[in-house]
């Protein structure tokens, strides 16, 4: 390829690059700069300072919100992986090939309903007079309806519901990548079915687990809706805190600093898991 044809590549790629720079890179730079300003009364003091970061490092409320977020997300990752793995395994290996796409489609069906509405659906399902409580009381399992909605339990449940879908897909993908004769080869060498699973299947499906867990982490930690609707806004998580700064207190600089903290956390998690973060088949 000669150079005069190579510039064509830049012409084609150019628009996407410009859009990314303008709609993403520039705003992010602005966020960084804004985090170095300070809110004073009704206006913004543009003298650069690290006050907001100091505040984040010392403020107990902010620490609590961070901790809450990490706990909720960790619980979500744990539960969704624990449910999704056997589920994906069953679809990948215990169901005839021709039915698998349909089952996967069924798995992600809720994805096609509106996120806001879905969260609201969970609220109703978990409410004191909702489906679950009414059914359990009718069957005599409960004497009185349980307070399930507007709690951390509800938030984690709703999150898990969503992320089971995500993780099922990623785990299924990596399970299907495993060469099909590895199992018979291991059995030929004396492995029991359990050993085949522990020594061959599980290790080779880890990338799918990691990708699913990573996506869950990134999406959940920045999610405002589910904790707000299903959790009733009763627990202060990072997104709630950030929005609070913006809408109630008008403290954009502090909000910007929080946004950066969020990004750093995600970047750290990415760095820790990047080795496994691929669904490509290992040759």
């Amino acid at each position: 390829m000669n150079s005069h044809v190579r510039w064509r590549g830049w012409v084609l790629v150019g628009p996407a690059l410009l859009v990314t720079l303008g709609l993403f890179a520039a705003p992010m730079v602005l966020v960084i700069i804004t985090s170095l300003y300070r809110r004073e009364g009704a206006s913004i003091n543009r003298a650069l300072s690290l006050d907001n970061y100091v505040r984040i490092l010392t403020d107990a409320t902010i620490h609590q919100a961070l901790l809450n977020s990490l706990e909720v997300v960790a619980l979500t990752v744990a539960f969704s992986t624990l449910i999704a793995y056997p589920f994906a395994y069953i679809i990948a290996f215990r169901v005839a090939s021709k039915w698998q796409p349909l089952l996967l489609l069924l798995t992600v069906l809720p994805f096609w309903t509106s996120y806001v509405v879905r969260s609201y659906s969970w609220l109703l399902v978990l409410a004191k007079n909702g489906v679950i409580n009414q059914t359990l009381v009718e069957w005599g399992v409960l004497a009185e309806p349980l307070a399930m909605a507007n709690t951390r339990f509800a938030t984690v449940l709703a999150f898990t519901h969503f992320f089971v879908m995500v993780s099922t897909l990623t785990i299924y993908a990596s399970l299907r990548q495993i060469p099909t004769n590895l199992g018979p080869a291991a059995r030929d060498l004396g492995a029991s079915p359990l050993q085949v699973f522990l020594r061959v299947t599980l290790p080779l499906s880890i990338p799918g687990v990691v990708v699913g867990a990573f996506l869950t982490f990134v999406l959940a930690i920045g999610d405002y809706i589910t904790p707000q609707i299903v959790g009733g806004g009763n627990e202060l998580l990072l997104p709630q805190l950030l929005i609070l700064q913006v809408s109630r207190r008008g403290d954009f600089p502090l909000a910007a600093a929080m946004a950066l903290v969020l990004l750093v956390i995600v970047a750290l998690v990415y760095a820790a898991s990047s080795k496994n973060l691929t669904l490509e088949r290992r040759k």
């Binding site: 996407a16 990314t20 709609l23 056997p86 069953i90 809720p110 806001v116 399902v125 405002y224 997104p239």
Partner: protein, 264 residues
């Protein structure tokens, strides 16, 4: 691989499907509720709430807005993504790796932060909030996905088809229109469908960037604050139905294009 027996597998599978589909079923069933509250007992079937939905001008406007924003941002992200993928796959400019990394970066950033970033940028530029900003916001979050999907469809083998076309005298635009696009069409459709769906359902960026003209998720959200009734169920079911139709359409379209290209 019999690690656990078929009975347990079936039971587990059914329980999980029940868990996954419970809110959807509840949503759809109670959209036909006759009384106000979408909780048991089921007093329907009744189309009362669908009537209320279509009579609610706020909702209908928001629905229309969502469709427009979704379509425009979908077309834009898919178009930009296609050009970038094609440029990268075939013309391989120097620094291709960096280009790819740059385009994909927004994927690693929470929508919360992207929306926030765009809102303070708009502020600095004294741009008022509007649906245009929302559309721009949706373009930037969908561009990486459209790019990645279409790029994955561009295989090296197909490059020889393009070379043959050029060899026979086709100009660049012809090659793109008659050779490249038809081959990666399933990817283009998938990218558009995904972009549309993600935009259609997206809340937080729209929340930061919209003014009085809102998208459907925001309208539902504000109505929720004032009171719960089955009209929201109707809205949700409608969204679901439209998404399903779009999905089925795209699937059928991709199958026919695949069949056509396989036949030739």
């Amino acid at each position: 691989m019999k690690v656990f027996n078929a009975g347990i597998a079936w039971a587990f599978g059914l329980v999980v499907y029940g868990f996954i589909l419970l809110p959807v079923i509840s949503l759809v069933v109670f959209s036909f509720q006759a009384t106000a509250l979408p909780v048991p007992p089921f007093t329907g079937p009744s189309l009362r709430w669908y009537e209320e939905l279509f009579a609610d001008s706020g909702m209908i406007e928001a629905l229309a807005n969502s469709l427009v924003v979704g379509t425009i941002s979908g077309v834009a992200s898919t178009g930009l993504g296609f050009l970038a993928a094609y440029g990268l796959a075939r013309h391989r400019p120097r620094g291709a790796k960096i280009v790819r990394a740059v385009i994909m970066t927004p994927l690693g950033v929470s929508y919360l932060v992207i929306g926030f970033g765009l809102s303070i940028t708009a502020n600095e530029l004294a741009l008022g909030k509007s649906l245009v900003l929302v559309t721009l916001g949706h373009i930037i979050i969908n561009l990486p996905l459209a790019f990645a999907i279409i790029l994955s469809q561009m295989r090296e083998e197909d490059e020889s088809l393009e070379r043959a076309a050029r060899d026979l005298g086709a100009g660049e635009l012809t090659v793109i229109a008659r050779i490249v696009i038809p081959v990666v069409l399933p990817g283009i459709l998938a990218a558009f469908l995904l972009s549309f769906t993600l935009s259609w359902d997206e809340f937080i960026i729209a929340f930061f960037l919209a003014d009085f003209d809102v998208t459907l998720p925001i309208e539902i959200w504000s109505q929720l604050r004032t009171g719960l009734d089955a009209k929201t169920n109707a809205a949700g079911t409608l969204v679901f139905a439209i998404s399903l139709v779009a999905l089925t359409l795209a699937y059928i379209l991709s199958r026919t294009t695949q069949r056509r290209s396989k036949g030739s």
